[in-house]
């Protein structure tokens, strides 16, 4: 299977007169059609910045990109103007955390979906509305014909998120980017939306990149999981490899500090300290100051991403093989 998306050595730096932030510092990964890549990370890890770079959503005048993002062979970072507008929505689309702000409050859901379809496919008004109705059915919104006439504020949070997924799929994209789409939802609604994304991904053979800070959510939807820290992927592997045999000390720390059943009364193994300031590009392993396995060689140079086993990449020069699992 060929790669749908190939990101190579992506660097993203935000430059303002006050300060410079090295948000992404050399990220590489591929996504195939029909595959879901989960990107797991805490705030400031660069996971959303990486995702948004695939659509070049960052403000042009203060963002410096380098590296390469290729969608089916086309370089995204080189696109501007019309080419970029054609890419957004019809080849790659995105769903966000807060559907209430992603929709325009003064137009109905149907109007916004139909408008997108007309812009990208040139369909007639009535064909676009017909397609919009099919889309609401696809995302299991009850009584879709009436819902087309609803304004965003008239829908519940879960329904709005379904409508946003319908909007994102309206022009048959091959790649769907999901930026914490279930974080703002209630627990019983979150699982419904996760199952919907999984179902649509299978039916439409989509490539999906799903960014989240919640390990459980990542495990539910992903085929592979990448863990980001300080603007780099520190570990990337199949979901079972990542859960059963995490290699990087940060991934292990994240799993150990995530509370789950059966931990009552035990002391949590918290990772001490806080993530680094990204004003300078990292000159060593960014996690070393918080790592209990850190050695002098960790501070000598940024560690490379190396294969621990087939398809399981780890960015750590420590005694990976001897660290007890």
């Amino acid at each position: 299977m060929s790669n749908l998306l190939s990101v190579q050595d992506l660097h993203v730096t935000f430059v303002t007169p006050d300060r410079t932030v090295h948000a992404v510092n050399g990220v590489s990964f591929d996504v195939k059609r029909g595959e879901t890549l989960g990107i797991l990370g805490e705030s400031g890890s660069g996971k959303s910045v990486t995702l948004r770079s695939i659509l070049k959503l960052h403000p042009e005048h203060r963002t410096r990109w380098s590296g390469s993002i290729k969608l089916e062979g086309d370089e995204v970072l080189g696109m501007t103007g019309g080419a970029l507008a054609d890419l957004r929505g019809s080849r790659v689309s995105m769903i966000f955390q807060e559907p209430a702000t992603a929709f325009d409050p003064v137009f109905t859901i149907g109007h916004q979906i139909a408008e997108t379809i007309k812009r990208h496919t040139g369909k007639s008004e009535s064909d676009a509305w017909k397609r919009a109705r099919e889309l609401l059915e696809l995302v299991h919104i009850p009584s879709p014909a009436q819902r087309l006439k609803a304004y965003p504020h008239e829908m519940s949070g879960g329904m709005r998120q379904r409508a946003m997924i319908a909007l994102a799929l309206s022009c048959d994209p091959s790649l769907l980017l999901a930026d914490e789409p279930t974080t703002a939802l209630d627990a019983t609604v979150q699982i419904q939306v996760l199952l919907l994304i999984r179902e649509l991904q299978r039916e439409l053979d989509l490539g999906v990149i799903f960014v989240t800070h919640d390990i459980g959510v990542a495990v539910e939807v992903s085929d592979r999981i990448g863990v980001m820290y300080a603007g780099k992927l520190v570990e990337l592997g199949g979901v079972e490899q990542m859960v059963d045999a995490p290699r990087h000390p940060y991934t292990r720390g994240l799993l150990a500090s995530t509370v789950h059943g059966g931990m009552r009364g035990q002391r949590l193994e918290a990772i001490p300290g806080a993530p680094p300031d990204l004003a300078e590009p990292p000159a060593a392993c960014s996690f070393a100051p918080r790592c209990k396995y850190a050695e002098p060689k960790c501070l000598a140079a940024p560690p490379p991403l190396t294969a621990a086993t087939e398809g399981h990449l780890v960015r750590c020069v420590g005694r990976i093989d001897t660290l007890a699992t």
Binding site: E42, M159, V189, V217, E220, T258, L268, I271
Partner: protein
Amino acid sequence: MDRGGSAQPLLLARDLRKHFPIAGGLLGRATRVVRAVDDLSLSVEKGETLGVVGESGCGKSTVARLLMRLIKPDRGTMVLDGDPVDQPHGITVNELRRQVQMVFQDSYASLNPRLTIVETLAFAPKAHGLPSAEARARSRDLLAKVGLDPVHFADRYPHELSGGQRQRVNIARALALRPRLVILDEAVSALDKSVEAQVLNMLADLKSEFGLTYVFISHDLNVVQYLSDRVMVMYLGKIVEIGPVDAIYSDPQHPYTRALLSARPSMDPRKRTREAPIQGDPPNPIDPPSGCRFRTRCPFAEGVCAKAEPLLTDTGAQEVACHMRIKGSGHTRAP
């Protein structure tokens, strides 16, 4: 400080009700009400952690605000360690607030941006009559207790701190008046997992050091299980189930509690969730369904569920408000 002995509940609330009117009719007259909390009774035992879970609109934050009297209940009474609150022969609301403190979710909005950390922490003790120098000394002690070096942090402003550090300050401030009960309303929900673990460990330490009692409100069922002794599950302004943490998590009796627990994402890629336990969103608390409020999403709903409201009933380990658990309720699955 403990007056009634360990068997007397620290806080008793009886039939608390809070309805919020919605202006909308002619001349802005209230036409409808949000029934945020409806005739809810609970007790908080000394030294325990009572977890409160439920989805948005279930009234859990309104309960927190009622317990601190940040909002006045429409009806209902509260008793703090034997003393009725806001009644003749009882204690005043101010006295209640000295003994009951609260930590909110938004660590930044909770702090005055123009006060340094030490000024923030010393504010309440000074207002309660502690000399300024003493209040500042107490504040520096508290900072050390929550793991922030007073030398580095005392004179900083909130915007100079990270989210985790700010939440530590908020916890320190809640402790500044030496309260007995601390209400934590989604206090760790906005924190990253690695920071959340640090704060949870710290909350456990502070609890044993100061002999505190916690009411811990969260949407995160795993964290509630980790921290709580008893758990209260709310749905649309009502308690649907309450009992010891092990009973609630290992043998949930209410269909809503079961759905909530099985909606948690699986941590095992081989056992992914195949089907959502319930469909739809929680209904709007403006016009809650008649009878049992969960019936519109309940797979076992029958005629009786629309007619009569199920009362909390003791089932042995826990109390449950469900017709299927009430003898002779008329439900075909009733015992």
